[in-house]
Point group: D2
Chain length 287, copies 4
């Protein structure tokens, strides 16, 4: 996919009130931009929160970002108490990946990144196991093994922070089987996306496929969500499912589920990289 | 759909061991039957449970059912410790319906029954509200209103038992909003199918759409299951889902969910009426 | 679903060029309206066509529609060469239904209209067969039988025009098995929506389920589209599918397909009634 | 997935008549086998064709295959005019892959084979372009580039025949963009599976995504089928779809479609490797 080099995105959230769209659209028109796509949502027309994402075309936008940002802050954002960002559509984000032993989500992400399907660079893959080193290095991506010994989580998290801070814009847990501490998440300070191998909130926690089999569900799923300190409870970005039956033992559920996991994670990552996911408390607005 | 009048079904479950299929198939062949469809499942080849459903064609089978049953019991079932039944494919089951105020599941079932799509008769519809009387009577089906007053559940259940016992082979709860007691279920003594308006085990209990909205899930669903004394925990027959987003308020979730509810319930009822659902502890085998 | 009585919709299409969103949003802001939802699409940023649908909240909008329309035409629409309309969200459209003998799409639409799920009135149902009279009249809807005799299509179409012109805003063919002439469509002058029982463009024309069975497809579908003079070729509004297998004979495909047909048609009708479908040549933009 | 080493499969098709299941089940019981799974289908109880697949557990079956085959041929197959095969469940098939430049289907198959998810060995990958050599060799799989020059198809096909004959049990076209001649298919003499990038029979032939965009369909799909001399007309094994909209240009349709293509192809290959696909004229029975 070729991306228009003069394309950029404005993402806004603020308290809802009349005049926001007119103010933003007027600002962009005055700068000479053409709005090519727009999505908006209001959580409640009375006293709710307003969310907006606009794609616009503006010749030479990549060189004019700083100027645009200063002007938008002065002329629009302050008045409406906006959280906002303006980003070039052509600047790839840096996506670090954490993984344990399962390779299906990792390989899918690396392959999509190489193909240019995911607009990102992968500066580093970190694993608590050495197994996937060759696969990662075959993609030309640096691989670091950071084992998590009994009692050694603080040391491991410190080592990972050193590898990640300043080198990544987003971290993806591609079946990384260690729990990250709230302290680590705070210090990291960038979004972390996890793939959980169940249709949350069903079967949160360990061994979801085994528990799905025992409960006799006819559908299993996967959930991609932003990571918060509370396990498996962060804002959901994307979910999908696959039909199963009495024929499927736990091994088969895992295999069928793996296909859903990698698809759901890839979709969530794509949405995040395209600045389409806005967090609204414990939920998300996905444009 | 025209059903072959000489078609019947044999449904079997028993401890798994070698020779079951040969014994059953040999028996049917010796009676002159042609097996037209067969499904089997073993929960575990070593010490598991064996499940079998065979459709067969046998001229004049409707008149020979008693003879067949006696012979099967003597020659096959006893040796393998089988739970089994042989039923004609042309004998419609009697399906009673319980409903409260929502009409979508009720009307869908009545319409499918009238159309001949569901192989059943509907001897009675019982509701704890009077609202749906005209709709039901337009289908030529008797309607009884059995309100459940504060403290009056025993009386209401007794009244329903009098209407149902001996007059129905299965009871369907088509959004019936009262909890049935274990005593009622025991005395009733026939299968009861419920539709729950969530993707169980997520959001068991009340107000699932509201809770789904709060949790920010991207998919909602519905679950049809056999009713047991434990609320929303009986063996699942069928489930399905629909994608939702931040755009959908609780009212819209209910409307979208209603379409899934009636579809899932109709499918579960059809499977049950076709003798395709075999209970295996807390789960089901669906052929 | 309760609809905000002060809610309205603006739908626009025009040649794309910079400034459209700013002009429209500025106009609405100046009238005192708050934009609560907005969708836009450009078929091509360079020389393409621009499509916009905005929902807005404006106190007393129902009484101010004429004034608004005049102002919008003068101040915005003329400059950008817009095709546009402004409609109140609370004014139900009048939806006439044509049907032959199959009842599934018809009853589904009548249920949904009665339930308030489809924002419409049904002024009339017309059929070329008498069979469905009682069903329709049970909903309190007038039913007219207009048979189409050999050679009698002109007379039948004239009779239908008399029943429809001025009494309907949209006509839905709910499995109406007669081909409507181009002349009839022209004289009728309002949108006509048809449900075709295949996944177009596969199996256009007659007997799609039989042909699907012969070809051995693993999925069958249904397609709702606007009717044009060319059979089964009009702009597609909505499609959906259901998985099938070698187990399913043609009768079963028809039964499974019927569920998809009524769902797809109901969704297409809902989208149309909500002013979410904009025609773009031979295709549609669906917001 | 661990496979029971004493597990084998019997696959049968023959003219339907009474007694087939009894004869087959009796034969297996007499050899000491336990039938662990069984599927059967009759295309028509009167004068149709009968299809059967049984999985059975028999200690030491791998060493007894020849003996079993001889006995089955004598005692059962001859009488019923059966086409049949008995295969060990643990003997991996040899799957050769042909590919052009797109890597998504190829890599997906190689990952799944390496993971043990597809029960096969990959003896060779052949491409008419050199681009994918490194990727293939990273999996330890031999790669041959066999370009197809103008007028050079006979030479290319001869070269491919030399690489494939006797070295493969099935050939998979993982987006191989050359048409194979009927002569090549005849001489090859083993099944060939192709993935077509549309929901056949819609958009057979070239450029399906472009044509889907023009027609304005709301769903695109992919189709895996056995290759016959007639282009895109062989028996369909598996299909699936993805929803699309006016938002998606042709590049995006291709990207979304690629995910469906690799999933559908992997499923079809898995079904074939598990001996679950039986050809019935121009269609398939998939157990």
């Amino acid at each position: 996919m070729t991306v228009d080099p003069d394309s950029a995105r404005l993402v806004v959230s603020c308290p809802d009130r009349p005049g926001i769209v007119a103010a933003v659209a007027g600002f962009l028109f005055d700068t000479g931009a053409n709005v090519t796509h727009s999505d908006q949502h209001s959580s409640d027309p009375e006293g709710g929160r307003f969310f907006l994402r606009m794609e616009f075309h503006l010749p030479g936008v990549a060189e004019r970002l700083d100027e645009l940002r200063t002007a938008f802050d002065d002329e629009v954002a302050a008045e409406f108490d906006m959280a906002w960002r303006i980003v070039s559509a052509t600047a790839p984000k840096r996506m670090a990946i954490l993984v344990s032993k399962y390779d299906h989500c990792l390989l899918d992400l690396l392959w999509r990144a190489r193909r240019g399907e995911l607009p990102c660079e992968v500066p580093v893959v970190i694993s608590n196991h050495p197994d996937l080193r060759t696969d990662v290095e075959n993609f030309g991506v640096p691989f670091f093994c950071v084992p998590v010994e009994q009692g050694g989580k603080p040391a491991a998290e410190a080592q990972m922070l050193a590898l990640l801070r300043g080198h990544a814009d987003v971290v993806v847990l591609a079946r990384y089987m260690q729990i990250l501490t709230g302290g680590f998440l705070d210090e990291l300070g960038i979004p972390v996306i996890n793939i959980h191998h169940s249709f949350l909130p069903a079967f949160a926690g360990a061994n979801p496929y085994g528990r799905a089999r025992e409960r006799g569900v006819k559908i299993v799923g996967a959930t991609a969500h932003y990571v918060t300190e509370e396990l498996d409870a962060g804002p959901i970005i994307e979910q999908d499912i696959v039909r199963v039956s009495h024929r499927h033992d736990v091994d088969t559920l895992e295999r069928l589920g793996a296909d859903v996991e990698r698809t759901v994670l890839a979709r969530a990552v794509q949405l995040h990289l395209d600045d389409r996911v806005l967090v609204d408390g414990g939920t998300t607005v996905v444009f």
